[in-house]
Amino acid sequence: MKSLNVDKHVKFLVKAATTRGFEWEMTEYLRMSGIYWSLTALDLLGQLDQLPREDMISYVFSCLSENGGFSPAPNHYPTIIYTLSAIQVLVILEATDKLGEKKLKVIEFVKSLQNSDGSFIGSPDDDKEETDTRFSFCAIATLKLLNSLDEIDTSKTVDHIKACQNFDGAFGVRVGSESHAGQVFCCVGTLALLEKLETIDQELLGWWLADRQLPCGGLNGRPMKKEDVCYSWWALSSLVMIKKSAWIDHKKLAEFILSAADDEIGGIADRPGDIPDPFHTLFGIAGLSLLQYNNSLDLEIVSKTSDIKLKPIDPILCLPSYLLRKI
């Protein structure tokens, strides 16, 4: 099995986060999430200090709107997705206290997005039917990180998630939508945070998730789709949350993730031979961390800095576990 080359990946992540070129411009619409991906990956590799902390914190606050929501970049409109990413960044940088009274506005923003059936829309001006279980997760995770889960009607939230469970045991975007591993992560994560996992059929779900593993070892997102490194997170962490990660072959998955790493410039791609990016780099490393700490995978780590260890990651919130002890 290949080893994880920390230095190369750190170099790739730092370069992606600091180069002000074409890629930077074209990803402005998701920048807050991009920062979260880069910081989490760097922190897992023990290299958080490679990016300027104060600049990141200023950036986050420059994206805070009057209504308490965060936008991906200044002058864009706020949404629940980038609100979660912003809070996650503040948690990683241990700067949530800088919110001060604005924390209440953030909570109000999140609450304002919930419908009467427990589902969530993404931003205040959206039509009520434009719901997505990703938004449910973003809302609940944001409140959890702000220690404010009691501010919301959690039983309706759970009802809506349950209504999204399909014949195959997995979950989709809305009630009636086809099952998809990304949405599964969001639904299972929401239930895990609300401690309501026992309300769904975990056996059937485990089967569907285990089914994601292909002969090459990689995981796909739905039946008959291609393998993709990011599902090493969405599907694997879901299996960990329902305590069925033994249902897939760990070594083969790890080998797949490592084979998608770019030996030349560092970073991890969606599959071997493709161009790497921070998104897949994070989820590949996060997947390896889960495999290492949850499933005792023997991962070889290579770095010029002696004794670098991969940090354990929280399967629900996708943040290094040590941070959550401080919340």
Binding site: F22, Y77, E130, L204, M224, K225
Partner: protein, 413 residues
């Protein structure tokens, strides 16, 4: 970020690409300044203009037309669509001339963007917003367009090539869009069932269609399970490498109400699969360890049949060892584990006749035309209780299967 293959390029090609990108970048930065990035300029940005008033002003129309080509580069940028939607809503509310035409052009714009990026969340949502806006502006026209929209989604969902499967047949955005549109129209579950039947029978890789079907049908209703078992077994033998049919099959086995009909169906199914297993043994030199199908046949399916009533859930399966689950995983996930052979060797077309003179080797009916009085209507679907004459049974049959059978009519002048 997905599916971008790393291709080695020459130094010259790399330089050309860099130059092109630099050009695009400059253009982009200029336009951003116009749309929402505040600057020292006295001219307000599109965003500032919209926030400065509740009315529709002529410069907003300019911004709309200037930014429409931008949509191709910014289709995943919610801010672009949000600015356009706000301006278009103002335009429609203030009953500007050519509002309807402009809104229909916006539909065309989103259509072209979706052809380019069929999985863009914000483009699909914007399209729905425009459809709603058209309907608010002109109810009749709006409903007419919605009906066309349903037809559009059906065309998009047909997939005959691998690329079409990836972007169309399995495109959950399109499926969800269809369901959301249908919320505004009179509901017709039957049409939806027929759509799934058509897709299952004519398209590749049908998990999305099977999933939708699972929502539309009630397995407790009479005749449903038998019909579904028929459909799924047909699918399994047509393309055994498609995991979708197997997953639906498993769903039927665990959720169908107990019945002797189901048991008989499963028993005959077990026979076919055992034949397959024999074939695989021959091909693979009795190497069953590598044949995950063996697990299903020997322990799985036989187990289901032996433990009547048929288990309703897989809670029992939770006690499987990890290795067994891996076998099952490989079975469902792998491309049929060589089960392709079975389709060719085992193709047994389904019987058509299940009711008429089953004892005969061949059912033949002969009539002389001179004996026909005016008109005679003969059965061609083999379901008539008055066979060989039609009794309308083809109607029920067509409803159940999405088929289009009809009688033979001999009419004398």
């Amino acid at each position: 970020m997905h599916g971008r293959v790393k291709v080695k390029t020459s130094a010259q090609k790399a330089a050309e690409k860099e130059a092109e990108r630099a050009r695009k970048l400059q253009e982009f930065q200029k336009i951003k300044k116009k749309l929402y990035e505040p600057s020292e300029s006295k001219v307000p940005t599109f965003k500032q203009l919209l926030e400065s008033t509740n009315e529709f002003l002529p410069p907003m129309a300019d911004y709309l037309s200037q930014s429409s080509t931008l949509a191709y580069y910014m289709k995943d940028w919610p801010i672009l669509w949000q600015l356009r939607l706000t301006a278009l809503r103002r335009m429609a509310t203030s009953k500007q001339e050519k509002s309807l035409e402009t809104l229909e052009q916006e539909l065309d714009l989103t259509f072209n963007c979706l052809v380019d990026s069929p999985k863009s969340y914000s483009t699909w949502a914007h399209r729905r917003n425009i459809l709603k806006l058209i309907r608010q502006f002109d109810e009749e026209k709006g409903l007419e367009i919605l009906k066309t929209e349903v037809g559009l989604t059906e065309r998009m969902l047909m997939s005959r090539t691998e690329d079409q499967v990836e972007n169309q047949g399995r495109n959950f955005h399109c499926w969800d869009h269809r369901r959301l549109i249908l919320n505004a129209l009179p509901q017709d579950a039957l049409t939806e069932i027929q759509l799934t039947t058509k897709l299952i029978q004519t398209s590749f890789s049908n998990f999305s269609a099977w999933h939708y079907r699972s929502k539309l049908l009630n397995l407790e209703e009479e005749g449903v399970v038998e019909n579904e078992m028929d459909l799924v077994l047909n699918a399994v033998f047509t393309d055994p490498s498609d995991a979708s049919s197997w997953i639906y099959h498993r769903h039927l086995i665990s959720n169908a109400p107990d019945s002797s009909t189901l048991t008989n169906i499963l028993k005959s199914h077990e026979e076919s699969l055992n034949e397959l297993l024999e074939l695989e043994k021959e091909e693979d030199n009795n190497n069953l360890e590598n044949m995950p199908l063996a697990w299903v046949i020997q322990d799985g399916l036989a187990g289901y049949l032996n433990s009547l009533p048929i288990p309703r859930s897989f809670a029992d399966v939770a006690n499987l060892s990890a290795k067994d689950v891996l076998h099952l995983t490989l079975f469902f996930g792998t491309t049929g584990a060589g089960a392709w052979y079975l389709a060719e060797k085992l193709t047994t077309p389904h019987r058509q006749n299940t009711t008429v003179k089953l004892g005969s080797d061949k059912v033949v009916d002969t009539f002389k035309t001179e004996n026909i009085d005016g008109k005679a209507v003969y059965c061609r679907c083999w379901k008539s209780a008055k066979f060989p004459y039609c009794d309308g049974a083809h109607n029920k049959y067509n409803k159940e299967t999405g088929d289009n059978l009809g009688p033979l009519i001999i009419a004398k002048e």
